[in-house]
């Protein structure tokens, strides 16, 4: 129990460190940006309408005050951390005065939904099939799958998403290629809405699964084919233990341990994939929101989203880490 407590403390510390470094990095970078939100706002405002130069000056003053852009950098930084602790990222500059947190909360469920389903699906399927492929090395079907996985795994998310978009949106236009649900479909727990959401998530989810699946498949296959040659497996086989039992209890279970670590390690990369996929399919999640925010020069929104992403991803990693000892009781702390 004591070792678990130490393990726990270490993981928590790591979590805090990731969040601290990550958010500071974001803050520093985003405050070095040349984009001035006040100028951006004024430009957008005046690019069509009839506004005299004198009026702009007055407007500039009002906006600086409104956006809370005054104060020394240190003051801005201190107030930033004091606000971030309570989850207050201030008002969005490009959707003033709506709070950033409100925009993020609106987008987050889409991303989490897409990400969790796609990641879990890819991980389970990939490991299952990969495990089988490693154990039954002569099965032709599984070998063929190995080849496909080899071809798909190294593809970047963008290329896969783009190819799917071309195929199902243009060459054989059967699936929706933008948005999170159909136009005019009311919100609520109705068949229309749920089926529309599922349909719209099909292509984005598929691209995430396609890329993810191959990696887990290949990893698991390699692990299992190594474990199969371990002495204890050989003894079990010689001892006449049922092969299915060997596969599930002797081989898969041990092979899953590093795959869980792998999942924790790659969550950041998967999140990156989700951002890109959302952008390709115009999915209304946090990725599209981020790209929008960067384009609009919206400091507070960019900071909010990046911070929330960092916290969310490291939180997910923490959860996996905490569950890890349950799967692998050998976890010992040096």
């Amino acid at each position: 129990m004591k070792t678990y407590a130490i393990y726990l403390a270490k993981r928590l510390l790591q979590f805090v460190l990731v969040v601290f470094i990550g958010i500071n990095l974001t803050y520093v970078i985003s405050h070095a940006t040349p984009i001035d939100p006040v100028e951006q706002t004024i430009s957008a405002l005046t690019s069509f309408g009839n506004t005299s130069p004198e009026a702009i000056e007055t407007m500039r003053e009002s906006l600086r005050e409104l956006y809370g852009m005054s104060g020394t950098p240190l003051e801005q930084y201190v107030s930033f951390w004091s606000r971030i602790v309570v989850g207050d990222f201030g008002p969005s500059l490009s959707a003033f005065p709506t709070p950033v947190s409100e925009l993020i909360l609106r987008a987050l469920p889409w991303t989490i939904g897409l990400l969790v389903v796609a990641t879990v699906l890819a991980w389970l399927l990939g490991n299952l099939l990969g495990g089988l492929a490693g154990y039954y090395r002569k099965n032709r079907l599984l070998k063929a799958m190995g080849l496909i996985a080899m071809g798909l795994h190294p593809m970047p998310y963008y290329v896969v998403a783009f190819v799917l978009l071309v195929v199902f949106g243009f060459l054989w236009p059967v699936l929706p290629i933008s948005g999170g649900s159909g136009i005019g479909v009311g919100r609520g727990f109705s068949f229309d809405f749920i089926s529309s959401v599922l349909l719209h998530s099909l292509l984005p989810a598929l691209s995430l699964v396609v890329v993810g699946l191959g990696g887990w498949f290949l990893g698991m296959r390699a692990l299992v084919s190594n474990i199969v040659t371990e002495d204890y497996v050989v003894y079990a086989e010689l001892g006449g233990v049922d092969r299915r039992r060997i596969l599930t209890s002797y081989v898969m279970r041990n092979a899953l341990v590093p795959q869980v670590t792998g999942l924790a390690m790659s969550l950041g990369a998967i999140f990156t994939g989700a951002i890109i996929t959302e952008e390709v399919f115009g999915y209304p999640g946090i990725g599209s929101l981020l790209v929008d925010a960067v384009h609009a020069g919206d400091y507070s929104l960019v900071l909010g989203i990046t911070s929330v992403s960092i916290v969310a991803v490291s939180l997910a990693v923490l959860v996996i880490d905490l569950l890890y000892p349950l799967l692998d009781p050998r976890v010992q702390v040096e």
């Binding site: 009026a55 479909v185 229309d192």
Partner: protein
Amino acid sequence: MPVLGTSVLGKPILRKIACAAVALLLGTAAYVPSAAEAQDVISSLPRKETLILENPEGTIKNAGWFNIWAINAGGQYTGLQQLAMDTLWYIDPEKGLEGPIDNSLAAEAPKYNADFTEMTVKLRSGIFWSDGVEFTADDVAYTVETQMKNTGMRWGPILSLNVDSVSAPDPQTVVFKLKRPNSRFHALFTVRFNAIWIMPKHVFEKAPDPMRFDFNKPVSLGAYALHSFDPEGKWFIWQRRDDWQRTTLGRFGEPGPKYAVYVDGGPPDKRVIAQMNHNMDVVHDVAPEGMFTLAKQSKSSRGWFKDFPYAHPDPTLPALLFNLQRADFQSKDVRWALALLIDIKAVSMASYRGAATISAIGIPPTGTHPDDYHIPMQDWLKNFELDTGKQKIKPYDPTVGKQIADMLRPSMKEQIPTDQAAIDKSFGMGWWKPNPQAAQELLQKAGFTKRGSNWYTPEGKPFSIRVMVEGESRPVITRAGTMIAQQWRQFGIDAKTELAQGTMLDRRNSGDFDTLISWSVESYGGHPDLAYFLDSWHSQYVAPAGKPQAPRNYMRWSSPELDGIIEKIRGVGFDDPRSIELGRDYVKLAVREMPTIPLMAYNVFVAMDDTYWTGYPTAEDPYANPVPNWGNSRYMMVRLKPRGE
């Protein structure tokens, strides 16, 4: 898959997982055929009564915000500005339903006193907000007073600069007392693209802070009212009001579409796909290739012009803007040299694939402007002389428009007009003839030197120019910039394009560029007055280097001669013919000084699909501007008829 499930999987749990996976795949496969209509966007509205338009703002981050008077809070072109807002006058860049100027909420033209310090407006009666409250002069007065009190609101600063007081002596009369003479004050309430929209007093006065009030659901003064919207900001549905007669549009008859839907079109190819599948009736803009594809492959699609060049010319003039506060561009000889290195034919091909309306002078070649400026000034342009230091040349080539038409004719065949007037209208008239020899002489005159194949500045540094372009959101402009940079590069100047993307507006205003392709000239199109943009070019507004520049003099040109012209325009009325003369003086000055290199009209590839609706505004029937984010696109609604009627 099934083979696998039976042959190798014995363990129940694994088998279950496998079965589930198979079921999922089969389920998906089974769902796909029924999804053939998946891309047929709207399920809940009768398609035949619905008009679908593109909102070029894309996804609205803050969809539930309809307070258009607060700055940048929510969407504006979601149908809000086009269908729910109204104000005193509208001016159309085209012919208009009954002339370019429409008295909307105002019953007649504005009345100024003799020294332009007071404006009196008579309002229409019998106009109602969508919640049944009558519109009166109090709403107008409230709009002005509220924004004057809150300078952070969209039109607050400009109103407080101009207005001393506003009063409503009776429900149909508003009197503006101005702080200083302004013969063009009414322009603030005249919709070109937008204008100061009138606020519903009875709604806003209940809100504690008008800047933090979301105005959801919006009370409409237009013929449509909000039906529903996507909380993620991808679509907004507007429904025709039952009492549409009680709006200003009611004078022109019943609006055709019962529902108007403004949607996020996504990237250009998605928009083209959507229109080919008849899921988007009006596309705001696509790349030229997208328009050509639609014209070729979709029988029901058309642009503003039935044939090439298809696009609608906005009264906006993309030009190459120099940053005149940078040392390299101080000399007009350098600016002229760079202009003479541009082959406008290649730029037209590269940007619009020829579908551009070029202009050598700083006025958009659209609407009535050619009659007032371009055509009468041809002779002056032909005789204009430029001294390169070694020789005198006449740089103007009046046949460039014709050359472009001739160049396109072999591939576009009869789509290209042969009539000279039609060519002038579609492709523009003349431009500067490329003249590398003169350019070389001009550069040398300015102290630049050529060593090897590269040019050096008088300080001995390599002559390097960055051409800033916006990127994906304005593909045509981006291509024009790329072509110009290449032409300069081939002459030995280190020129490169620079992609500004979202920082474009910001950098343009802060003067953080060498040159950029943008517009500092915007005009009415249907009216010769130039003060709309020219007044802001007065040197009193030019910011020192490093400080943000107010629109629209982004090149920061300051010229005492120009100031003189502007001051004279301020002293003459809006419809005074003398202002045209002064406008021509501005053109001549700008040609001599070359503060910007004017290129072409901003042509917008609006694509309209008549599968469900007919009667769109077109070049043959130019009753309104079809570009769907312009406020005056609302006039389209009363002319649209369902197909088959």
